[in-house]
């Protein structure tokens, strides 16, 4: 599990770097086409928004695994070791329940609806189900990370 995790982490890191770089290049290209060609790009706006959904949601899962999201530990630092441990497990379980229900179930339902109903984006003509698929994906990742963090 540990080895798998390292591999997954490395892979996500690469994807994140790629997403952010693509966003920058995409916006620079948008400025370029507006000033130096007679035909301003019509897809860059939409593409960067979709890249950001991916960056934000996938990155959120990665950061969750690294426990880098902002949280308050004032109460925890005042408690005994065992109690602190119990609370940490409680928070982990809550997060797993949430990820399973909202991100995996809700997210998958969203992907399913947009897929079955043939919903395409206006300018790239991309299936919205692809854009939304990052939600259940991140949900699964968070559950995996929470398990790793508690089982070691």
């Amino acid at each position: 599990m540990k080895k798998l995790r390292i591999k997954i982490d490395l892979f996500i890191e690469k994807v994140l770097v790629l997403l952010l770089s693509a966003m920058v290049l995409n916006v620079l290209y948008q400025i370029f086409t507006r000033y130096f060609t007679s035909n301003p790009s019509s897809f860059t706006d939409e593409l960067s928004r979709f890249l950001m959904i991916w960056l934000g949601v996938l990155g959120a899962a990665y950061v969750s695994g690294k426990k880098k999201h902002v949280s308050i530990n004032l109460l925890q630092s005042k408690l005994g070791h065992q109690f602190k441990k119990n609370i940490e497990i409680f928070v982990s379980i809550i997060l797993i329940i949430f990820s399973f229900n909202v991100l995996v179930l809700g997210g998958f339902n969203l992907v399913y609806i947009t897929f079955v109903l043939d919903q395409y984006s206006p300018s790239l003509n991309l299936s919205m189900s692809i854009v939304y698929s990052v939600i259940p994906l991140s949900g699964i990742l968070i559950i995996f990370y929470e398990m790793c963090n508690n089982l070691k």
Partner: protein, 310 residues
């Protein structure tokens, strides 16, 4: 709390201000619904994009967390492709032709088109005809659009239409448009008169060009989730209430068009009435491109046919 359970609460979200004819018409729907159902059905209205943009509200309908919404047919085309026919330039000869199609069998057919996509159309509100407005450049004929950066809605049909007329379609969100026009990120935009006025875009544009290139109706939609959960009577009441609000909204719309036009003229914007035939001719290339799409082509022919029948 117990009596609440007897009242069917229906939630409707839209993106417009509470002074807009659409919001006022929805208030009327609520009043009619209360009357027809003897107080058993009630509308809760969420204006001002409180529950999201038109596209998001439509998704909420499909998800089943929102009951009703109002969207422009331009937004609808990404969900129900046939509806893109409304985005075509100079599809309708005049307003009479337009309403005749909307209120006739073709309009009804398109309302039902949504059922495959988990929503059901209940009726059309008027949203006037769309025209160009530009910050600096006087536009009198299609060639004046050459090289102009023109803001369009998020719709492929709108992109194609601007291209067919010779402009460069540029996507800018509606919220960013005021400053974009002011600072020259785009040269022109297009919309109906009340939107031009209410968005204050007239403050940063010199010309309003009444070329009336298309008429895209607003559509009232119900989620099939709601519709399937209503009894036959409840459906009748809801449809009836919406039907009653339609002439009311269309009347209000005309009034708001007139008021906006007056206000725009008073503010010093120059109104240009170009030769519409020139624009109509230029836009024909767009119809040529659609020749392959038999479904749409068929629809176009039937719509044109409505005019001749009488």
């Amino acid at each position: 709390c117990d009596q609440n359970n007897d009242i069917k609460l229906i939630r409707i979200g839209h993106g417009l201000d509470t002074n807009h004819s659409v919001h006022k018409a929805m208030i009327m729907v609520n009043n009619q619904l209360l009357r027809l159902s003897d107080g058993k059905m009630k509308l809760e209205i969420y204006p001002n994009q409180q529950l999201g943009s038109e596209r998001e509200c439509l998704e909420l309908l499909q998800i089943g967390s929102l009951d009703l919404t109002k969207v422009s047919a331009a937004v609808l085309e990404n969900f129900a492709p046939k509806v893109k026919v409304f985005g075509l330039p100079y599809l309708f000869e005049n307003k009479e032709h337009y309403f005749k199609v909307l209120d006739g069998p073709i309009g009804k057919e398109l309302l039902e088109e949504g059922e495959k996509y988990l929503f059901k159309g209940l009726g059309y509100y008027d949203s006037g005809s769309r025209s160009f407005y530009s910050r600096e450049k006087k536009i009198e004929k299609p060639s004046d659009l050459n090289g102009l950066k023109i803001r369009v809605q998020e719709s492929n049909t709108a992109f194609e239409m601007i291209r067919s007329l010779g402009g460069s379609p540029t996507p800018i969100s509606w919220g960013e448009l005021y400053t974009s026009l002011q600072q020259g990120v785009v040269d022109a935009a297009e919309n109906n008169t009340p939107s031009f006025y209410l968005s204050k875009h007239y403050e940063v544009c010199k010309y309003y060009i009444v070329d009336e290139h298309n008429m895209i109706p607003d559509v009232i939609l119900s989620s099939t989730n709601l519709w399937n959960n209503l009894t036959i009577n409840e459906r009748k009441w809801l449809q009836e209430a919406v039907n009653l609000s339609i002439p009311f909204q269309r009347e209000l719309w005309i009034k708001s068009e007139e008021e906006s036009m007056r206000a725009i003229i008073n503010s010093g914007v120059e109104i240009i009435y170009p030769d519409k035939d020139l624009f109509k001719k230029a836009s024909l290339t767009m119809y040529d491109k659609l020749k392959k799409d038999t479904e749409i082509n068929d629809l176009i022919a039937r719509i044109k046919d409505e005019k001749i029948k009488n």
